[in-house]
């Protein structure tokens, strides 16, 4: 369906300000065309400015384009492309706009869920105009502490209820109070319970300018939090670390609270990452969907035994920090380690990796035992999503954040997504053990070389870094981070891998991916088209077994192969890590050997990650992904997943483009 443009109103800003609530700009999202039309018309009748869309993804896109263009979002709960709650979270985190949920279900649990996810309100279908007449209060509440000059609105709001105070109070307690208020509001809402609200006591209080948590800011925030340690992170210290002018402790505190909730949610979510996929697809590179982080969760589920990808997912949770992979894929890749989404700052990545590294050691061993693949690293959110979807991911349980990183790393590095390959391997290495990791890393580095393009460089850099970090998986990320944000593209390729993440099947994907990766890597330097095919072929043949060593990527010219990701080959992929073919690619081949078991798992993970990443797939990326996968394969046995996840998670910084891990390529 097409989105209707905003209706009514030119000069909205002025109008909105002067005649608030008249002219308030609302974005309505609902997959049901009838409800959407009725809702849109009702809103127009209330004299709001309305934009409607029936796709959550496009809604996100619109919001991301210009957050200031909207005052309020109304979203349906059940939508095919993305879960309403996920959208809710993303909007709340990225844009901090009030969101109202809409549903035909009046189930208490759902309402509760809406509240915990941060909804301002929960309306039931059919929607009545009386209820819509009062939704502007949510906007005012949020703006209260701000210096917005909705004075008029505020005055009115006072009368209607002092929601505001809780809303923006800087203290967490306020937030809680606010939450409580929300609950009350929900109940009262139907009756126009504005009167029940307390008078706001302060509109007069200083209107602090509203803080928009941009990607950069959030990244810093996450970096600070990770630096301090999630448990010890207190707003004051975070504020000091962030060192941003104009940011008050209160802003940080409320953001921290949201972040914590978000992480908690991520860790408890396991599989509904289907949304993530959607999220991934629609996101801009800059913002990863938060969903992607969730995706990781899925990974976990996906990763079945031995699938690294799953592991990553599962591990993802532990990483908690990483949880936020969402932050644009780019971030994820990079930040892998601590959510710091550094885009292109190797150092940051290192940090992240370090961060991840910590996790990994813990996670990996565990994973390894379980799966052998360890992918526990949760592929950066993106991948997670992908992974989840693709695979039935068995959770490896522990951080396999690595996985993600792989994706990231690769992707970022190589615009072509080749990089991702590299990254993935890196991640893998960690799980299996340092030797592997190192190898993986080196391989990646090698691979990078193969790529020839920037990606390769990045990969290499990443790898190296990762080694240094110790976090094997991370290094990938780091590199990736450096590489580029392109990895999103690569991620696309990764998408293949993501599939592989899931158990065996995942491998196949991975194989394909790996093959692809390898191929991509190998031919990267020259043309994409050529090698990949062989690689994949070799990979496929290699099959997960130990033939890994053999995988030498036979880089066949057909890039297409990679694209096709014959999942069948994928399995082999895991094994084949035929990266070897690529030589550069696969430096991992030796790696592969080590990984063997791990790899497959890892690959799978990588795949998943990649898959996730690849939401954005591009044909070229496909190759990259493949490469990525191969890397993963190699590294997968290793912890990669963990690493990945970590990075992803870190990156996750809310809403950043969670860039699919795979896309790193």
């Amino acid at each position: 369906m097409t989105m209707e443009e905003k209706m009514g109103g030119s000069n909205r800003e002025d109008e909105a300000l002067d005649r608030f609530p008249v002219g308030m700009r609302v974005l309505a999202v609902d997959d049901d065309p009838i409800c959407l039309k009725v809702l849109g018309t009702l809103l127009l009748k209330c004299q709001y400015q309305v934009t409607t869309t029936n796709q959550a993804i496009s809604a996100l896109k619109m919001l991301r384009e210009n957050r200031n263009r909207y005052d309020l979002v109304i979203s349906d709960v059940n939508m095919p492309d993305m879960d309403g709650f996920k959208l809710l979270e993303l909007v709340g985190l990225e844009m901090d706009l009030p969101v109202i949920m809409l549903s035909a279900h009046s189930d208490t649990k759902l309402v509760m869920k809406g509240i915990t996810h941060g909804a301002c309100d929960y309306l039931l279908k059919p929607v009545r105009i009386e209820e819509l007449k009062n939704i502007w209060q949510h906007v005012v509440r949020r703006k209260k502490p701000d210096s917005k000059d909705r004075v008029n609105g505020q005055n009115q709001d006072k009368a209607s209820g002092g929601i505001g105070e809780a809303v923006q109070t800087s203290t967490s307690s306020s937030d809680q109070k606010f939450n409580k208020k929300r609950k009350d509001q929900n109940e009262d809402e139907e009756d126009d319970g504005e009167d029940n609200e307390h008078e706001n006591d302060d509109p007069s209080t200083q209107k602090k300018p509203r803080v928009v948590w941009s990607v950069e800011l959030h990244r810093k925030f996450v970096a600070a939090v990770n630096h301090l340690g999630l448990d010890k992170a207190v707003p004051k210290k975070i504020l000091d670390l962030m060192n941003v002018e104009g940011l008050t402790r209160e802003n940080v505190a409320s953001h921290l609270q949201k972040y914590r909730l978000y992480l908690k949610r991520l860790s408890s979510v396991a599989t509904q990452q289907a949304n993530m996929v959607a999220a991934l697809g629609g996101k801009d590179p800059s913002y990863l969907r938060m969903g992607s982080l969730d995706g990781f969760g899925d990974f976990r589920t996906l990763t079945g035994s031995g699938r690294l990808s799953s592991a990553s997912l599962s591990s993802y949770q532990p990483s908690g920090m990483f949880g936020r992979l969402n932050s644009s894929a780019a971030l994820n890749l990079r930040g892998i380690s601590s959510g710091v989404i550094q885009q292109g700052h190797p150092q940051t990545l290192s940090n992240s990796i370090n961060g991840l590294g910590k996790i990994q050691p813990v996670g990996l061993p565990a994973n390894q035992n379980q799966n052998g693949t360890l992918f526990q690293g949760i592929p950066t959110s993106i991948e997670l999503n992908q992974l989840l979807q693709n695979k039935s991911a068995n959770h490896f349980g522990e951080l396999n954040p690595v996985n993600n990183p792989n994706v990231f790393g690769v992707a970022t590095n190589f615009p072509d997504a080749r990089m991702t390959v590299g990254s993935s391997t890196s991640s893998l290495s960690t799980p299996s053990g340092s030797p592997l990791l190192l190898q993986a890393n080196t391989q990646q580095a090698q691979r990078s070389g193969a790529f020839g393009n920037q990606s390769s460089l990045d990969v290499a850099s990443l790898n190296q870094e990762s080694f240094d970090m110790g976090v094997h998986g991370f290094s990938n990320f780091v590199d990736n981070g450096r590489c580029h944000e392109n990895w999103q593209n690569t991620v696309q390729l990764s998408s293949f891998p993501s599939n592989s993440l899931s158990t065996c099947e995942a491998f196949s994907h991975e194989q394909l991916h790996t093959n692809n990766l390898q191929e991509s890597i190998s031919w990267r330097s020259s043309h994409l088209n050529d090698n990949p095919i062989d690689l994949s072929a070799s990979m496929a043949n290699a099959g997960l077994e130990d033939s890994r060593g053999d995988m030498q990527c036979q880089i066949s010219p057909s890039n297409n192969v990679i694209h096709n990701i014959d999942y069948a080959a994928k399995q082999q992929w895991g094994e084949n890590s035929s990266f070897a073919g690529a030589d550069s690619l696969v430096a991992g081949a030796p790696y592969v050997q080590h990984l063997e078991a791990g790899k497959l798992a890892f690959n799978t993970k990588l795949r998943s990650n990649e898959d996730i990443l690849f939401e954005q797939r591009k044909p070229q990326n496909e190759f990259s992904q493949n490469n990525f996968e191969t890397l993963d394969v190699i590294s997968s046995p290793m912890i990669k997943p963990e690493q990945y996840n970590e990075t992803g998670m870190m990156e996750g910084e809310l809403g950043y483009d969670s860039f699919p891990l795979g896309s790193c390529i």
Partner: protein, 123 residues
């Protein structure tokens, strides 16, 4: 003359729809939304409803015909259908959907279908 007579007829039919429980207050709201700016609003909405529900019904039918019946999918469709119909005020359809969903929850689609037969043939 005839115009007047027809209008009268329409009013009667409309009233009967309400009386029989086919429509509820939501429909009135829709009617109120219709104004000069939106002269054919109700008509548009209802048309849209028919089109969309046809699609939904087809899906439901497919799901019902497949064996084994995928109840969760059916539940989703029903939920969607319920949402749409309640938005336009189709009361009866909405309540039927609710009942159907209960049957789905119980996993008992056949029983429900047979209970629907009288409706199908009389309407």
């Amino acid at each position: 003359m005839d115009g007047y007579g027809m209008q009268n007829q329409i009013a009667c039919i409309r009233r009967s729809l309400f009386d029989q429980g086919y429509l509820d207050e939501q429909f009135i709201q829709l009617e109120e939304l219709q104004d000069d700016a939106n002269p054919n609003f109700v008509q548009e909405i209802v048309t849209l409803f028919y089109t969309d529900s046809t699609r939904l019904i087809q899906n439901i039918e497919l799901t019902l015909n497949s064996r084994p019946i995928n109840f969760s999918k059916l539940d989703d469709y029903m939920h969607q259908f319920k949402g749409s119909s309640s938005s336009i005020g189709a009361k009866k359809v909405t309540s039927e959907c609710a009942v159907f969903r209960q049957y789905c929850a119980a996993g008992n689609a056949e029983a429900y279908i047979s209970s629907l037969l009288p409706y199908i043939y009389t309407d």
